[in-house]
Amino acid sequence: MSSSENPQNQVISFTIDGQPVQARPGWTILETARHYRIHIPTLCFHPALKPWGSCRLCVVEARYGKRGKVMPSCLNPPIEELEVFTDSERVLNVRRWVLEMLLAGCPASREIKKLAAAYGVTSTRFAVTDPEEECLRCGRCVAVCNEVVGVQALTFGSRGVKKVLETPYRVPNNACIGCGCCVSVCPTGALQKRLDTVRGDLSRRTGHGYAH
């Protein structure tokens, strides 16, 4: 899967849904699809951030010879002669289930309802624990705070189904510079409600580096 064999000026030719496409070295399947305006849904992917691969909505089925594998397009670079399918039966199965579970996980989010409806998912079989929940723990806010802003005022706490977005060590945080990047990258608007718990005591905040 390494693209290191390809010199910088060479392109990788493969197909997406039967359409021949060419990727520049270093591009992922998703980036190539976006370049050719082929739609692949995403929630956790953001062009400013390193791909994280948590939402799994961007999965595609990649066939190479006899082998077919479902993989996230945001993380995988294409290889020559790869056949990529963005809406095969296996891909849609993953996407529909993820969306149906998200309807129960983030019932308050309009964005997710809209996305789910586009895939024919309008109701959920799963139990709703918190009707007000909007956060899907996609990790965009954590990543933007860490990678772009560089302050690590946000993190994930706990594990598995209990995973929550919180400040490090669960204390209000003076590392936050109140830039609002986390709010702007949030795909569902969930962070709007939480900003106050993140940014801590405004009177003591003196900017990046203060809390370190």
Partner: protein, 639 residues
């Protein structure tokens, strides 16, 4: 300890140790494996120590008491082996020790009542017992024999002999080629060819010069599995030697042992073994004068099952949260601190010295053609002989369960075997189906009938299960597949790191389905929905945990759909396990009015006078089954 400066000195040390050993000196080997410790092996060991030190012991040579690793026959613990008489005593209690000392050590006679007996036959030595006779011990050969806290004992048994051989007789490339030809595949469950992994890592390191790291994965978290634990506790030098050989082959100077914190004895024994190996110059700078530096460090896992996944181990070692990341890049390309890294299971590393010692061809001839060598299994569940067994790959599942395991105890009927822990599947006793599902491996091998199924990586994968780390849970007709699938899902839901949505939400969702089924709720169509959700997890999840998590559910639906339907349609649990679907009642024909059940019932809902028929108040009953367990005449029946 004198530092060894060349390989000849290692040989001299070994010869001297062997010569100094008195072959007639009695040795008492007390098993200190997890099973025996739980039933009081440490008290047995102390009893031996004090009995032997007492003044009036009339023996020519003072016997030696050794605390060893697991002997394997856990259902018969605490186990004691006596050399050179070659006796195996089972279920030894501290009270029995005085008799063993007086009868066996002093007079040289046998304590008949402590021998293992089966069907009227008494077995004197361990090698004759059917449980041991069918096994082929290679990795386990020193476990239970040597004292894991004494490097001299290990050296006498041949430890570090293969390292010396590799250092003087073989080039690094020779070692890799030997491992490659041997056909050794990763014992952690994936079955990736070890030699190929090493070769790729070396190639990646050549393209991108710099340090290479090796890691031993000792984060064994499957419920009911204790293979790696036995190796680390019973023969830590095998792991260290295997890693040192691998390090030599790949030009590595630093290795890591990632061991779960729940294994304190393993950590203690490994730490002692590393310290002693360093003192002897078998680790550290200029090992055995060969100009090769290698050292090891133990890192403890903080109790996360997902940290058995290789990218999560790397994250944990780097000090990040133990969450997997997507491969590629594989650890052999960019692993620990971005450098090529080899992660092998503890058992895989422990295989390496044997391959170097006996040669690639010897190893390739063991076991099955594409799954060479032996494999350790922990055999548990509804089987007479539970314990740790090592068998050549390719042995039939039936032979493993019925002959070594001794079959299902009591009245039960053999129903299925669950292999590979939470990532594995449930393989039924009657296995007849053709395998065509695209989610499972392509059907290039025809499945065998019944339990003729060969135990090797490929045949197990054909059934939809996996070989896995080596956990093997035998089920009889009193075990419910829905309940077992639910148990594993609950475990995985707890242990999922929560990074990717299919795993975090999907396991919760699958558990919701199964909880409904176990309460008799749901529609037959829900079984198909659950199957489809399971396939979404297989395809959609980020790491091996999520990708294999649906296996117990998918295989149980595939082979036991009737049992699912019985829960949903008939509201009946055929195995009598799911509490919401069963009732306990007392058979008036059998009940003798002993009152035991009434005394035991935690709900105090059983009424009846002495010598009179007892009855259970169904409204108050919580279906705990305590009455059934205590009834001496089996009058409590479950409907």
């Amino acid at each position: 300890m004198q530092r060894l400066t060349n390989t000849a000195e290692l040989k001299v040390l070994r010869d001297n140790l062997l010569q100094a050993q008195d072959p007639h000196r009695p040795i008492v080997r007390v098993c200190r494996g997890p099973g025996c410790l739980a039933v009081g092996a440490d008290k047995v060991s102390q009893a031996f120590q004090s009995a032997i030190q007492s003044q009036n012991l009339e023996v020519k040579v003072q016997p030696l008491v050794k605390d060893t690793g697991c002997h394997g026959f856990c259902s018969q613990g605490p186990l004691v082996n006596l050399a050179p008489a070659n006796l195996c005593y089972v279920r030894v209690k501290p009270e029995d020790v005085e008799e063993i000392v007086q009868t066996t050590l002093v007079k040289g006679a046998v304590v008949e009542r402590l021998l293992y007996s089966d069907n009227g036959t008494r077995y004197k030595s361990a090698a004759d017992i059917p449980f041991y006779r069918m096994q082929q011990k290679i990795i386990l050969q020193n476990i239970g024999v040597i004292d894991p806290l004494d490097i001299h004992d290990a050296i006498m048994a041949g430890a570090y002999h293969s390292l010396a051989k590799a250092l003087i007789e073989m080039s690094p490339d020779d070692v890799i080629r030997t491992v490659e030809i041997s056909g050794l595949r990763g014992r952690g469950g994936g079955g990736f060819p070890t030699g190929y992994k090493w070769k790729r890592t070396v190639e990646n390191a050549q393209e991108n010069p710099g340090p290479v790291y090796i890691i031993a994965n000792g984060e064994e978290g499957d419920p009911g599995a204790f293979m790696d634990r036995a190796i680390m506790e019973g023969d830590p030098h095998a792991v260290i030697e295997g890693m040192a050989i691998g390090a030599y082959a790949m030009g590595v100077n630093q290795g890591f042992l990632y061991v779960r914190h729940e294994y304190p004895i393993a950590i203690r024994h490994l730490a002692a073994a590393i310290a002693q190996a360093r003192a002897l110059g078998l680790l550290g700078k200029n090992i055995l004068g060969a100009g090769f530096d290698f050292d090891l460090q133990i890192n403890r896992g903080a109790g996360a099952y997902v940290c058995g996944e290789e990218t999560a181990i790397i994250a944990s070692l780097e000090g990040r949260v133990g969450e997997p990341v997507t491969r590629p890049p594989y650890p052999s390309q960019q692993g620990l601190w971005g450098r090529p890294t080899v992660i092998n299971n503890v058992e895989t590393w422990a295989n390496v010295p044997h391959i170097i010692d006996h040669g690639a061809q010897w190893y390739a001839d063991l076991g099955a053609p594409r799954s060479t060598g032996t494999k350790i299994f922990s055999l548990v569940g509804k089987v007479k002989n539970t314990g740790l067994v090592e068998v050549p790959m390719g042995i039939s599942l039936g032979a493993l369960v019925e002959e070594i395991g001794g079959g299902v105890p009591g009245q039960g009927r053999f129903k299925a075997v669950q292999t590979g822990g939470p990532s594995g599947g449930i393989i039924p006793y009657e296995l007849k189906e053709e395998f065509t599902d695209y989610h499972f491996h392509p059907p290039d091998v025809k499945p065998a009938d019944k339990m003729e199924l060969s135990v090797d990586f490929d045949s197990m994968a054909q059934t939809g299960s996996i070989m896995g780390g080596g956990g093997m849970i035998v089920m009889d007709d009193h075990d419910c597949v829905v309940d077992l699938a639910r148990y594993f899902l609950r475990f995985l839901e707890e242990e999922s790191c929560g990074k990717c949505l299919p795993c975090r939400l999907g396991l919760k969702g699958m558990l919701e389905f199964l909880n409904n089924f176990s309460q008799g709720k749901g529609a037959p169509a829900d079984i198909d929905a659950l199957e489809s959700l399971g396939k979404a997890l297989v395809d959609g999840s980020l790491c091996g945990l999520g990708r294999t998590a649906p296996n117990p559910v998918l295989t149980s639906i595939r082979y036991f759909r009737d049992e699912y339907l019985a829960h949903i349609v008939d509201h009946h649990c055929p195995a009598g396990v799911c509490r919401d679907l069963i009732t306990y009642r007392i058979d008036p024909e059998i009940c003798n009015g002993c009152t035991l059940c009434a005394q035991t019932c935690p709900q105090v809902c059983i009424t009846g006078a002495n010598q009179q028929l007892h009855t259970i108040d169904q409204d108050a009953c919580i279906r705990c089954g305590a009455c059934m367990d205590v009834c001496p005449v089996d009058a409590v029946v479950v409907d």
